[in-house]
């Protein structure tokens, strides 16, 4: 059973998480400079989020063309953000699949640090177990 009981809960947690990134001036400046936009397709339960320097958009129909698309289950996302699953392992085992310029992806990962730092607190506040 997924750690997320519903799509609504997944949207709530992950949109809060990416809002953290959009509050980070360095991230926004770098994302703008690199023309970085990210489409996150979560499954089980379904939850799709589009992140660009201009803001967040929720839902498949709201997602525009993105420089990078990430696809993973909500459980994988939870394990990644909690630091229980390492990025290279998630990628190498195919639990996290990515389309887009790999060079941009490699630049993106270190920029996600603020989100990694805040996720446990955001998940706990939403009642999501570690």
């Amino acid at each position: 059973m997924s750690v997320f009981p519903s799509s609504e809960m997944a949207v709530k947690v992950f949109s809060s998480l990416f809002a953290v990134l959009l509050e980070d001036d360095d991230f926004v400046a770098r994302a703008r400079q690199e023309g970085l936009s990210v489409r996150l397709v979560h499954t089980k339960p379904d939850c799709e989020i589009f992140v660009a320097p201009q803001g967040l958009r929720i839902g498949e129909e709201q997602a525009g063309p993105a420089a990078i698309t990430l696809r993973m289950s909500c459980d994988t996302a939870h394990a990644l953000w909690m630091g229980q699953l390492m990025v290279p392992v998630a990628i190498a085992t195919g639990r996290l699949r990515i389309r887009g310029k790999v060079a941009k992806v490699l630049e993106l990962v270190p920029m996600l640090r603020p989100a990694f730092d805040r996720y446990p607190e955001i998940a706990a506040a939403a009642g999501i177990a570690a």
């Binding site: 696809r71 990628i91 190498a92 887009g100 790999v102 490699l106 270190p110």
Partner: protein, 409 residues
């Protein structure tokens, strides 16, 4: 055809002759390096004792960017991706595949650091490659009794590797011996795969970055090879080498997946090397058959020879198209795809052997002479099919892909 459809077809048209700007510039720079620096030394490099290594040559390649092509720009690299690496290595391999492999093996050693997504690890190891002096890396997988079985997950349980790692406080202690490791003699660090002590076979395979100046590392004797003599293949021994825990890539027991991802990335570039060997042999054959007259006609105008030349040319083109597609996919997908790089390497390796053998035959006695260089291509072509997956292992990878469920996107 209506206008809208016509426009969309036009936008979608493939262009097989134009590479992206940065990639094309890098390919041109690599071509100049190969022509001006490598070519004058190629016979000497081939005939020197096995342990001879030309650091001056490597320095020239380093200044072109061959040691840091795949490293992101923020860490001092060129950021030209696998497409840039593969096309550049085709140019270098067309003159000397052994030289190309010095840089290819370095990329392979860097790959786990690139895949790690760990900014501390990247900041520690990647800037090494953008200094004034050349720095090389290597990838240490193969052992006396284990090689391809470390690449095929279903064989992990039966793998006979003996290099082990055990956790001790904030460090891992590595013990064992690797064999046939390109650049081991000259690299600053190695990507090392070791099995967690107590795990059967390679089921506990774990990836580490190991600086080769750590106490307990011994660089063994250089192997005396049939070809690829410009680069050094040697043993690498680990006698209770203490590696900081933060130099582990991913997690304990996840080395098989890391190794596969790394190999899938690298195979497109190796296919570029094989294509370079084949292209060079083809060029020699074209030149010779265009000037040699027999029975009042050039060789190229004799049907039996023409058929050979046509077949060689088609194979070289096909090999190139396969590796370009593979490299482009590697640059745009994570995890790196299995099928395209494996199919590209499988085909390009065979092409290199077939084309070099045919060229050797068409040149007659000259093909057998060292001075013409075709016999060297034959020797080198036979080497390319071994590293980064033999034809037998690549066939398994390709066939597994044929039966695998397609990814949903």
């Amino acid at each position: 055809m209506n206008t809208a459809l016509s426009e969309s077809v036009s936008e979608a048209a493939l262009n097989f002759d134009v590479l992206p700007n940065g990639v094309e510039q890098f390919r041109e720079a690599a071509k100049e390096f190969a022509r001006n620096v490598v070519k004058p030394r190629v016979q000497e490099l081939d005939q020197k004792p096995a342990a001879h290594f030309d650091w001056d040559l490597v320095g020239h390649g380093h200044r072109v960017g061959l040691t840091r092509a795949a490293i992101p720009k923020e860490y001092g690299g060129l950021g030209v991706g696998m497409l840039g690496v593969a096309t550049a290595l085709e140019e270098v391999a067309a003159v000397c595949p052994g030289t190309a492999l010095i840089f290819g093996a370095t990329l392979l050693g860097q790959a786990p650091v690139l895949l790690s997504g760990d900014p501390r690890l990247q900041a520690r190891f990647l800037p090494l490659f953008s200094g004034d002096e050349p720095v090389l890396a290597c990838n240490a997988v193969t052992e006396e009794d284990a090689g391809c079985d470390l690449i095929v997950p279903s064989q992990a349980e039966h793998a006979r590797n003996v290099t082990t790692a055990r956790r001790d406080g904030d460090e891992y202690v590595l013990t064992g011996r690797k064999r046939f490791i390109t650049n081991a003699k000259v690299a600053a660090f190695a990507s090392v795969f070791a099995n967690m002590a107590g795990s059967p076979g390679a089921t506990g395979l774990t990836s580490f970055i190991v600086p080769l100046d750590l106490p307990g590392v011994v660089r063994g004797p250089v192997a005396d090879k049939m070809g690829y003599r410009a680069c050094l293949g040697s043993e690498l021994e680990f006698h209770d080498v203490r590696v900081p825990a933060e130099y582990m890539i991913g997690a304990e027991g996840e080395g098989m997946a890391i190794n596969m991802a790394q190999s899938n990335m690298a195979r497109a570039a190796v296919a570029g090397i094989s294509t370079g060997v084949a292209r060079s042999a083809l060029e020699q054959a074209i030149a010779w058959c265009g000037e040699r007259v027999q029975g009042g006609r050039h060789l190229k105008d004799q049907q039996f020879t023409a058929a050979k030349l046509a077949g060689m040319a088609a194979k070289v083109d096909a090999a190139r198209l396969l590796y370009l597609r593979a490299a482009d996919k590697v640059d745009n997908e994570l995890p790196p795809p299995v099928y395209e790089p494996a199919a590209a390497k499988l085909f390009a390796d065979r092409t290199a052997i077939d084309v070099a053998e045919t060229a050797l035959s068409l040149l007659g006695a000259r093909g057998y002479l060292r001075s013409y260089g075709v016999e060297k291509m034959m020797r080198d072509a036979l080497g390319t099919r071994i590293y980064e997956g033999t034809p037998e292992v690549l066939a398994l990878a390709v066939t597994d892909s044929l039966y695998a469920e397609k990814d949903e996107w």
